[in-house]
Point group: C2
Chain length 337, copies 2
């Protein structure tokens, strides 16, 4: 019998904690530790920090990244920030420790367009150490790109592609409801957008991935962020929103090839969305539409996509990979290492 | 610039012809010849045989498989039969010619359960020659297995899986309408089923693939074939069906793990289906349902899946592969070799 996959969790926020709880259910994975600089977490037991079953686990959370990476994990699950430049040092340190990486960093999902130099640097470093890394999650990484790309395998010709994701933020945790601006005035929302505090990252990355995979030749990507304004009073488990206040975000990304729109991606995340769901469409021969009524739950599914991706990244050729390249599949809890 | 992919088409029936026409549109592929023993095709120009644009192409159809395989194609597209034992010699000859294979043979899509010895033999032979082979298409190979497996990447836990495909055979070619028994009496239909003449092959292969990928532990697969009886008179471009006659097939496959149903797959292919579509469902955490309203057109999409799979099989490690293993994606017509 092979050894278990030795995993380190880098970043124990809400998503990191969900990932840890899920990894704990997989017989093929052994969590050897976690890294988090938050003084309320460092030094604690990971099971206690994530509210896991049967805690404590005897698994440390440490603020000392270098020491934890020195344990030579097979894979680091990285979940600290959406922005690639902010996490370059963390990622480079993981690679130099000869660990593969699965990261939820949205800008890592397909970094070739916005950060070609950083992408090349990560790819080269990963190849130097013989390991692979990927940025993935439900979005970007799955529902607006990987599903569309998989669907495209049934296409003879493709003219354009489209993905629409509508999320009812009522059912999500409070930080997510706040992150989409729920309860703000429109002016406050716009100020927060201008400050970079409100934005779901990853739409341009999905547009770029789909364009390259489907050969749509997108040479310009634009993105808008508008508020969804509540038409009536809405109440969630965490907060109340008056009519006229912001209920959430409405983001649209367009991909143009020589001024012709080839890709349209739309994300609505707001409290009170009545018809949540994911839709992916290909116009071509044949026309194809795929829908997931109700949609894929962001937190549950992001943890799932990340953990399920672990065997694939360990099997992948060294270098920077994306969800475009890898077969994606559930990791059965009882699967042998 | 790399050389084009040199392809041979093995079998120029309706699906083979659709594959050839599609390959012809891809800049990265050069069709060097085709194999077909039909005296009305052998010796002709392939472009003429498939009704291709700008025929003749100067590409031969030959009955001499050995001679054509001696041309050392990079890939053979194989489309001669649904039954694996019937095509073993053909496949082994392609492998010995050091050609990769993409085959529409339904029983090759996931042969490990029904034909473990043949699967091992193909895998070993492919590894001997450093090439890879795959059986794929829209079903099996995509809509009832690969899509479900891809969807499973968003799952934290899986209890069971289900796929339902409803095809309106009115829109398909005459051989397909006849193949599903359209226009027969119920007695004639049952006789044809007993004789093995009426059956869509591949459901047990999809059940087995999904069970292994999702860890559902299926130890018994059952399959039924029943007629769909026309309730009213139906007319297609090719034939007429009276009320009471057979309109098509209704096949159900069950996968049981210790007597508990874990996988349900249902295929309805009949003339006059009013709500064609593909549905894939996962019961677990979360529950996930994916639908393709209208469904994926069998002929168009099978040719698409097969041709789009060519780059992936050329990149794959040597051996027997399945659509479970490989990332699937559209091959853009202008993609560089």
């Amino acid at each position: 019998m092979k050894k278990k996959i030795r995993a380190v969790q880098y970043g124990v926020g809400p998503i990191g904690a969900a990932i840890v709880r899920l990894m704990r259910e997989k017989e093929s994975i052994e969590i050897i530790g976690a890294i988090d600089s938050d003084p309320s977490k460092a030094g604690q037991d990971l099971g206690d920090v994530v509210g896991g079953a049967n805690a404590p686990w005897g698994v440390p959370v440490s603020a000392d990244a270098a020491a934890m990476l020195g344990e030579s994990a097979d894979v680091v699950i990285h979940s600290t920030s959406s922005l690639l430049p902010d996490v370059m040092d963390q990622l480079m340190a993981c690679l130099a420790a000869e660990s593969c990486i699965v990261s939820t960093c949205e800008e890592l999902a397909y970094p070739y367009r916005k950060y070609p130099k950083l992408a090349a640097q990560l790819d080269a470093e990963a190849k130097t150490w013989g390991v692979a890394l990927i940025g993935t999650g439900i979005n970007p990484g799955f529902v607006m790109d990987k599903l569309l790309i998989t669907l495209s395998a049934a296409s003879q010709e493709i003219e354009s592609a489209r993905a629409v994701r509508i999320v009812d933020a009522s059912k999500r945790r409070l930080p997510l409801q706040k992150k989409v601006g729920a309860g703000m005035s429109v002016a406050e929302f716009r100020a927060q957008v201008a400050a970079g505090a409100i934005k779901h990252h990853g739409l341009p990355e999905s547009v770029a991935m789909v364009s390259d995979a489907l050969g749509l030749g997108v040479d310009e990507i634009t993105e808008t962020i508008e508020p969804v304004v509540a038409r009536e009073h809405v109440k969630t488990a965490f907060l109340e929103i008056a009519a006229g206040q912001v209920a959430g975000v409405h983001q649209i990304a367009h991909g143009f090839a020589g001024k012709v729109e080839k890709i349209y991606m739309e994300l609505q995340m707001f409290v009170g969305a009545r018809e949540p769901g994911d839709t992916a469409e290909i116009t071509g021969n044949p026309n194809l539409t795929l829908t997931i009524p109700g949609g894929t739950h962001g937190d549950i599914a992001t943890a799932a996509v990340v953990v399920n991706c672990i065997p694939a990244i360990l099997d992948a050729p060294a270098g920077l990979r994306t969800s475009r390249d890898l077969p994606m599949c559930f990791l059965p809890p009882g699967a042998k290492p």
